[in-house]
Amino acid sequence: MKRIYSIAMLITLSAWCPFSVYSQTCCTGGAPITGGFQIGAEKKGNISFGAIFDLNRINALILEGQTLDDDRILRNTNSFIFQGNYGVSDKLTFTMLIPYVWLNETISGSISETKSETSGIGDLTLLSQYQVLSKSRSILTLGLGVKFPTGGSQLKGQNNFVLPITLQPGSGSFDFILAGQFSTSLFESRQSLSFYNSLTYRLNTESDKVTFHDTYQFGNELLVLSGFSDQVLLGSTILEPSLMLRFRHTGQDTADEHLNPNTGGNWLYLVPGARVKLSSQISSGITADLPIYRNLKGFQLTTSYRITFSLFVNLAKKTLSFDIDNSQ
């Protein structure tokens, strides 16, 4: 129990440590994979799959921590992510994520409005997840993954010039992902009330295929989601409302071996959400990311709000990741 306690505490605590790492910002291209996918283990032989539709409205102009009164630039990063899970054993699950990304940017100039857009397959991710703990009221899952540079990172626009990084669907690099999730019910009298923590860390590598740069390295990204969820019965439907905080840290990108001064920072979002179990095998959810704090380096356009819809189908009688009640 001490060992499990230590691992769980490590996940929880590491979420708030002042990491000094590099990371990919939301102003840069690529699907927001690490913000969207579901962590969780399947039973042996079980298959589940789902669709995540992520709408990221990027409209807030930040200058060294201050939000500027300037909404002339609107960037939308919309992603459809297919997630498939397969339970190799009761503890080990393989996950695949395939994103398709639509990116557009509209600038309202004094003379005219300009819109630029692109779309394409993003970077594919393979992830293995191992369930370290599955006790009566607690679950701990750890994951390790690789993101492959399958998305375009040197796409050209209408005028045949290479689009900036902000409108590239891929990052051009092999990146590595560490993930963990811990959830536990808080009260004996109400076991459906859960305390949930997840941590995702992306270690990015250097690429020579990002726009026109000789080398480019997106900074590493740390995402921590922490909060509560509960289950209530509405008629015959199980509704799972949740209220969480998402902390995001990114360091600065490195372009041609020089730090990009307008990348990196810390974000904190309030994430209300709800999940509905449409049947024993199908669940659907929605979450919103609402910024409540951000401290960004330099001059950046960043997320005003973000909405994520998901629909998951489990081809098994029950899973551990989405149904805490059933696991008890």
Partner: protein, 385 residues
């Protein structure tokens, strides 16, 4: 298990609270400078030179961050001889053997030719790498003239090599100033520490009749293009933060008034402007439309000077007024913040690929480029020592 859950919860809440109360501290740079500078008396350093068959006279003062060049031959055909090591008070910079004294705008302010102007040569300051990129094998003062390499490699659509045109931002992503407002410089503002320019801040200065208009780089870093009216002429002032170069040209041509904006495109890392009527793209350094309906049309360039604010303040003589582009631009920005990190001082950091590179001089050293017959010669501050 209950103990674990409760502890984890409490620790998380405490740490989350610490994170939430972390605030962003902004460095505030005090405005100001010496409000009452003593008149600057210098032994002027000049260079007499011949480039492309033109006799020119160049002046530099590194303390004031100013370098200028003029044609030494007047419009009447007289070639002046300038005295070296003369003691003058800025903005007076040149004295000739006829006894005329000339100011930084090339105007005779005393002597038999008072009111006469030296002829302008297209010349401007900027980072060394930009001259090397646009004018390969650019001649350095003190070196023999090099043969000019083939430069442009145009395509059907572009007058310049489109392989070296890149999207820096999208059109109007950097907003031009179309209705600039100005504040009249008053020494009292500096006494009260309410003026936003430091003595070392670089500015563009344009003569506006008997007065002067000043456009600080720190504002132009964020806007790059200003559509303005100076001395009853509709003009566009442009500044490229990446090449450190400026230009000034008329907005009236082809019998139409134009408004210019920032296209977001860069050629050789240098600003490309667009005009509102044909959406043609204009290279700032080439001063030519390089793409669109106006392709190959050259701009009508006008005279401007660059110097630091300490020097610009000294222009306020004989009742002339200095109007400084106001920080009240209509855009929410903090002009005390430079948006490009260490770009100005990091010689190894060039943001976009260049068609030609040349390491004879550190890339970000500010030099004066003199352009004659589409050939360039560069002068360094150290050449005047």
């Amino acid at each position: 298990m209950r103990t674990f859950s409760n502890n984890a919860f409490i620790v998380s809440i405490v740490l989350m609270s610490v994170l939430l109360i972390t605030s962003c501290n902004k460095d505030e740079t005090p405005a100001g400078g010496d409000p009452n500078p003593t008149p600057r008396v210098d032994v002027v350093n000049i260079i007499k030179d011949d480039f492309q068959g033109t006799e020119l006279i160049a002046y530099a003062n590194s303390d004031l961050n100013v370098m200028v060049a003029f044609n030494a031959t007047l419009a009447d055909g007289t070639t002046l001889t300038f005295e070296e090591a003369t003691v003058l008070t800025f903005p007076e910079i040149l004295k000739d053997t006829e006894g005329n004294i000339w100011n930084v705008f090339g105007q005779a302010v005393s002597g038999p030719r008072t009111g006469t102007n030296l002829r302008e040569i297209r010349s401007f300051m900027g980072y060394w790498f930009s001259f090397a990129a646009f004018f390969p094998k650019v001649t350095l003062f003190g070196e023999s003239v090099n043969e000019r390499l083939h430069v442009d490699d145009p395509s059907n659509d572009w007058l310049v090599d489109p392989d070296f045109v890149f999207i820096g931002s999208f059109k109007d992503g950097i907003p031009a100033l179309n209705q600039p407002s100005f504040i009249e410089y008053d020494k009292k503002l500096e006494v009260d520490n309410k003026f936003f320019l430091e003595n070392s801040d670089l500015v563009i200065v344009i003569q506006d009749g008997d007065n002067f208009k000043v456009y600080p780089h720190k504002i132009l870093d964020w806007h790059e293009v200003v559509n303005d009216v100076v001395a009853n002429e509709k003009v566009v002032i442009s500044f490229c933060p990446l090449t450190g170069t400026s230009n000034l040209w008329s907005r009236v041509f082809e019998n139409q008034e134009h408004v210019f904006g920032v296209s977001g495109l860069l050629f050789n890392s240098n600003l490309i402007l667009y005009d509102d009527i044909t959406d043609s793209n204009w290279s700032q350094i080439k001063a030519t439309s390089v793409n669109g309906a106006y392709k190959s049309l050259e701009s009508n360039n006008l005279a401007f000077k660059e110097m630091n604010w300490e020097a610009a303040k000294m222009l306020s003589q004989n009742g002339s007024v200095i109007k400084v582009l106001s920080e009240d631009t209509g855009f929410s920005r903090d002009y005390d913040i430079y948006p490009y990190g260490d770009y100005r001082t990091n010689h190894n950091r060039i943001s976009y690929p260049l068609k030609f590179e040349d390491d004879r001089v550190p890339s970000k050293e500010r030099v004066l480029g003199v352009l004659i017959n589409d050939k360039a010669k560069a002068f360094r501050f150290q050449d005047f020592e």
